[in-house]
Amino acid sequence: MMAMDQTLGILFQLCQSLLVVMLAPLLMGWVGQCRAWLQNRSGPGLLQPYRSLRKLFHKDAVLAHNASPLFRATPYILFGCMWLAAAIIPIIAVDLPFSPAADVIALVGVFALARVFISLAAMDIGTAFGSLGARREMLVSFLAEPALLMVFFTSSLISHSTQLPHIVDTFAHHEFVLYPSLAFAGLAFVIVLLAENARIPVDNPSTHLELTMVHEAMILEYSARHLALVEWASSLKLLAYISIGIALFLPHGIAEVGNWGALPLAIAALLTKLALAGAGLALLETFLAKMRIFRVPEFLGTAFLLAVLGLLIHFLLGA
C-alpha cells in the first residue's frame, strides 16, 4: 500500500509538473485575450504566447560583448525556480511527494532566488535601463515579499503547518469554516500578485516606455532562447501565484490523498478556477491605472498592513 501510494504520488507529481509547464503560456494568452476583449479589441488569440516562444527559440541569440556567464545562466535558473515553484503547489492533488522538500517559506525563498538572479543579470550588461529595472524590481519585492510571507503565516497559523499540502488539506477537506482573517490575507495576496507579476498598476507588461517599465527594463538585453525562457518563466510565475491563491483561498475540489478518481474532476475544477482568476486579473488590469513608481511603496505597504492585520485578527478572533 505504501509503495503504491508512493508511485501514485510520483505520478501525480510528474503529471502536475508537465501540466503546469504546458499550461502556463496558455494562461498568459488567456489573460491577454480577456484584456483585449475587455478593451474592445479582438486580441491575438489564446495561443499567441506559444507562437512567440516558438519564434524566439528559432532566432539567433545576440549577447552584449561584456555579458558574463551569470547573464547566460540566469534564464535557466529562472526557469528552473519557477517550474519548481509551480510544480510543488498542490493544485490538482494534495499528496505531492516533492512538497515536503519546500514549504511555504521555502517557496517564498524560491521566488526570491529567481528575483535576485534576474536583477543581477539585469545589472550585468551595465546599461542605464538594466540597473534601473533591477532597482525597481528589488524595491517592489522587498515590500511584496514580507506581505506574501504574512499571508502564508495567517494560513499557517490556522492550519498549524507551513506545508502547503497540509494547509490545502485543512481548508479543502475539513469542516467548512469562515475565516475573517483570510479575507484580509486574500486582499493582501491580490496586491502582492499584481506587484510580483509585473501587472498594472505596478508595472505594465505590454509597455516598453522607458520611465515606467520595471520587469521589461530588466530583460531588455535578452534575446532569442534566453528571452523565451525568461518569458516562459514569467508565465510560470503567474501560474504559480494564481495557484497559490487557489490553494489558499479556493482549494475546494482538489483531489484527496491517493484518490485516483477525483483527479479528472480536480483538473476540471482547476481549469475553471484558473480561467476565472485570469479573467479577474484582466478585469483588474483594465480598471486600474498604472501608478507612479513612488506610489508603489504605499500600495504595497497597504498589502503588508492588511496581511499583518489579518494575522492580528486571527489572534483576536482565533480564526
Binding site: F57, H58, A61, V62, L63, A64, H65, N66, S68, L70, I77, G80, C81, W83, L84, F98, P100, A101, A102, D103, I105, G109, A112, R115, V116, S119, L120, M123, D124, I125, G126, T127, A128, G130, S131, L132, A134, R135, R136, M138, L139, S141, F142, L143, L149, M150, S156, L157, S161, T162, Q163, H166, L229, F294, P297, F304, A307, V308, L311, F315
Partner: protein, 669 residues
C-alpha cells in the same frame, strides 16, 4: 601520560599557546615578511582548524574544567570547556581558518615592520577570542575580553596615518570599554557571595538572586555585550571600525568577534542567571527588531562596500538578538521545546553569519587589493576581471540574502518556524506582538536581499566605472583558498542542516534543558517539530532546481540550434552608452532613502538646471549619533568646563578651598 588522557580543553589550550607563540615569532621575523605570510599565517590557520575540531569533539564530551596557576591571588584563572563554548570554538576555528589562509595571501605586500606587529596582534586577537569562550571566572573573562578589544583596536588602526581611521579606532575602543564596564557591573551583581572567590562562574551559578537583581544583571549584560555586538543604540562604532580595518580583520571582527558578544549574552542569561523573566525576552526581541531594520536600512544607502557590510552585520546581530529574545520568552514560559527551536535558529545563524560575512569581507579585501577602491561608485564589471572572487562571493551574497538552498535560508527558516509556533503563550500581548515581529523580520530579510543585489551588482556587474579597473587582477591562490573554504562552509551549512542541528543538541540541552530532535530519521529532511508541520530539504531542493535546469538546457540544446552572436548592448536609441549611465551605489539606494526618509538625517545638494558644472552631493547620517551621542558628549564637556572653573589659577582661591574643606569637616565632626 596516556594519550587517552588528553582532553579537548588541553588541545584548545595548546592551540591558544601556539597562536601566541606564532604571534611572537611573527614579530621576531619582521625582517623576512615572506616567512610570516608563507609560514606563520598558514600555521595559524591549521591551529584554527584544530580548534574547530576540538570544539566538535568537546560538544558531546562532559564539561572540562581547569584552573591555571595564574591570575589574582584568591582568584586563579579558571577555564571550562562546555558545549556552549565548544560550539563557539567551532565557529571561531571554522571562520578563522579561512580568514587566516586568505591573510597569507592578502598581507604579502605589506612592509615587514607593520606585518610583524600585525601578525602578533592578529594571533593575540584569535587567542583572546578563544579565551573569552573558555573563561570560567569573571577576571579571566574580563582580561580576555579586553585583550580582544585591545588587539582588535590595534588591528583596526593598522593604517593609523589616516585621521579617519584613528577616529574610528578611538570610537571603537571607547564603546568597547564602556561596554566592558557594563559587563563587569553585571558580574558584580551576579557574584555569589563575599570575597573574591565569588567571582568564579561556578559560584555565580549558585547565587540566588531576587527577580529585581537578576533583571539588573541581565540589563547590564545586555548593555555590555550589546555594545560589542553593535545593538542599537550602541552600534555607532561598528560602521566606522569595520571599514577602517584591513579586510581580514574586518572579517574576523564581524564574523567572529561579534559572536563572542552573543556568546556572552547566552552565557549570562541562560547559564549564570538561574531564572529568566519573560519581559527580558520582549526587550531583547524589540531591540533586535529595531537593530535589524535599522542596520539593513542603512546598509542600503551606503556607498562604501565595507560600510555596507558593516551595517549588514548590525542587521544580522539584530536577527540573532531576536532569536535569543524568543528563546528567553519561551523558556520563561516553560516551553522548552520551542526555546530549543529558537535557540537553534540563533546559534545556526551565528555560525552562518560567521561564514558568509567573513567570506564577503575578505572578498572586499581582494577587490581592494585589485583596485585600491572601497567606494562602490568607482567599481563595476569586476566579474570579468576577477571571475574566482566573483563566483565565490556570489555564494556569500546568496547566502546572506537568505536564499535557498544556501545556509542563510536555513537559519531564517528556523527562526520563522519559531515565530509560527509561538501562539499559545499565556500572555496575550506577546501573542499579538510576535506576528508583528515576524513581519518585521520578513521585511528585514527582504531588504537584505535588496542590499546584496546592490552590493554584488554595483561591484561585479555592469561596466567598469573607472578606466583603472581594466587592470584589476583576480585573487591569488591563498586568497582563493580562503574564499573557497568559507564559500564551501556556506554551501555545506546550507545543504546539511540536519547534521548541524544534531550537533547543536548538547548546546540547547545545556542552556534550555531540551534538544531539538529531528522528527524524521531522514537526514535529508529538516523537520524540527513534525513533518506535518514544516519541513525543508535543501538537497532535494537543489537537486530539483539543478535537474530542471539541466533538462531545460539539454532540451534547448537538443531541439534548437545554439547560434549566438555578440553585439553591442542595445542603446535604446541613445547615441552613446557610457559607464556613467549605470546606477551608482547611491542611486541604487535612493528608493530606500526616500521611503524611510524620517530615519535618516539627510543632507543633499542638488545642482540647478543652469549649473555649468553640475555636482550632486548627498549624505545620509545616523540620527542616533546626533540624538544620543553628541548630547552625552556635550553634557560631559559642559560638566568638565564647570569643574575646570575650580582650577582658576588664583592661589587665594586654592587656599580658600583648603580652608573651607577644613571648616566643613570640622563643623561636621
Amino acid at each position: 601520560m596516556n594519550a587517552l588522557d588528553i582532553l579537548p580543553l588541553d588541545v584548545a589550550g595548546v592551540v591558544i599557546l601556539l597562536w601566541l607563540a606564532f604571534g611572537l615569532f611573527g614579530l621576531a621575523l619582521h625582517r623576512t615578511p615572506q616567512l610570516i605570510t608563507r609560514i606563520i599565517f598558514p600555521l595559524g590557520a591549521l591551529g584554527a582548524l584544530a580548534l574547530a575540531g576540538t570544539g566538535l569533539w568537546a560538544l558531546d564530551a562532559a564539561p572540562d574544567v581547569a584552573v591555571l596557576p595564574l591570575g589574582l591571588p584568591d582568584l586563579p584563572l579558571h577555564l571550562r570547556l562546555d558545549p556552549l563554548a565548544a560550539f563557539f570554538l567551532i565557529l571561531l576555528g571554522g571562520a578563522s581558518f579561512g580568514v587566516s589562509l586568505f591573510s597569507a595571501g592578502y598581507f604579502r605586500s605589506m612592509a615587514g615592520n607593520t606585518l610583524g606587529l600585525l601578525c602578533l596582534e592578529y594571533h593575540v586577537f584569535l587567542a583572546s577570542m578563544a579565551l573569552v569562550l573558555l573563561a570560567d571566572d569573571a577576571y579571566m573573562f574580563m582580561v580576555a575580553w579586553e585583550t580582544m578589544a585591545l588587539s582588535s583596536y590595534f588591528l583596526v588602526t593598522t593604517d593609523h596615518h589616516v585621521p579617519d581611521i584613528r577616529k574610528a579606532g578611538f570610537l571603537y575602543l571607547l564603546v568597547a570599554h564602556v561596554g566592558a564596564i557594563g559587563i563587569l557591573l553585571s558580574f558584580g551583581v551576579i557574584q555569589g557571595g563575599h570575597g573574591i572567590g565569588a567571582y568564579t562562574f561556578a559560584a555565580m551559578r549558585e547565587a540566588h538572586l531576587s527577580a529585581f537583581w537578576s533583571s539588573i544583571a541581565f540589563l547590564l549584560a545586555l548593555f555590555g555585550f550589546g555594545a560589542k555586538a553593535g545593538v542599537l543604540p550602541l552600534h555607532v562604532w561598528l560602521p566606522e571600525a569595520h571599514p577602517a580595518a584591513p579586510s581580514p580583520i574586518s572579517a574576523l571582527m564581524s564574523g567572529v568577534m561579534l559572536k563572542t558578544a552573543i556568546y556572552g549574552i547566552l552565557r549570562v542569561t541562560f547559564d549564570l542567571l538561574g531564572t529568566q523573566l519573560w519581559w527580558w525576552g520582549v526587550l531583547a526581541l524589540a531591540l533586535g527588531l529595531i537593530t535589524a531594520v535599522f542596520g539593513v536600512m542603512f546598509a542600503a544607502v551606503q556607498g562604501d562596500m565595507k560600510r555596507l557590510l558593516a551595517y549588514s552585520s548590525i542587521e544580522n546581530i539584530g536577527l540573532l538578538l531576536v532569536g535569543i529574545g524568543l528563546t528567553i520568552i519561551f523558556h520563561a514560559y516553560g516551553k522548552d521545546a520551542l526555546a530549543a527551536l529558537s535557540l537553534t535558529a540563533a546559534l545556526y545563524h551565528s555560525l552562518n553569519h560567521a561564514f558568509f560575512k567573513s567570506l564577503l569581507f575578505i572578498g572586499t579585501g581582494s577587490i581592494l587589493h585589485a583596485t585600491g577602491e572601497r567606494n562602490m561608485g568607482r567599481l563595476g564589471g569586476l566579474i570579468r576581471k576577477m571571475p574566482w572572487a566573483a563566483a565565490l562571493m556570489l555564494i556569500g551574497v546568496l547566502s546572506i540574502s537568505g536564499l535557498p538552498p544556501f545556509n542563510g535560508f536555513v537559519s531564517e527558516w528556523l527562526l520563522l518556524q519559531a515565530f509560527l509556533l509561538s501562539p499559545g503563550l499565556p500572555n496575550s500581548y506577546i501573542n499579538m506582538l510576535i506576528p508583528v515581529a515576524a513581519a518585521v523580520i520578513a521585511l528585514a530579510a527582504a531588504l537584505a536581499a535588496y542590499v546584496m543585489v546592490k552590493f554584488y551588482g554595483i561591484i561585479f556587474l555592469g561596466q567598469h566605472r573607472e578606466k583603472a579597473l581594466e587592470h584589476a587582477h583576480d585573487a591569488g591562490t591563498w586568497e582563493r583558498t580562503g574564499l573557497g573554504w568559507l564559500a564551501l562552509g556556506c554551501v555545506a551549512l546550507g545543504l546539511a542542516p540536519v547534521f548541524v542541528i544534531r550537533q547543536l543538541d548538547p548546546v540547547t540541552q545545556m542552556l534550555v534543558g531540551q534538544g531539538l530532535g529531528n522528527s524524521t530519521s531522514n537526514w535529508l529532511f529538516l523537520a524540527p517539530v513534525d513533518v506535518e508541520r514544516a519541513s525543508y530539504s535543501p538537497v532535494y531542493f537543489l537537486l530539483a532546481v539543478l535537474g530542471v535546469m539541466l533538462v531545460t538546457l539539454l532540451a534547448v540544446r537538443h531541439f534548437y540550434h545554439g547560434r549566438l552572436r555578440r553585439g553591442p548592448a542595445w542603446d535604446c536609441g541613445f547615441p552613446a552608452q557610457t559607464a556613467r549611465m549605470q546606477d551608482t551605489a547611491e542611486g541604487f539606494g535612493q528608493p530606500i532613502r526616500r521611503i524611510f526618509e524620517p530615519f535618516f538625517k539627510i543632507e543633499s545638494e542638488l545642482p540647478s538646471a543652469f549649473d555649468t558644472h553640475p555636482r550632486y552631493h548627498g549624505r545620509s547620517d545616523d540620527r542616533i549619533w546626533f540624538a544620543l551621542y553628541l548630547p552625552v558628549k556635550h553634557i560631559t564637556e559642559k560638566l568638565s568646563s564647570w569643574v575646570s572653573l575650580l582650577q582658576h589659577g588664583r592661589i587665594h582661591l586654592y587656599l580658600t578651598y583648603t580652608f573651607a574643606t577644613l571648616l566643613v569637616l570640622l563643623a561636621f565632626v
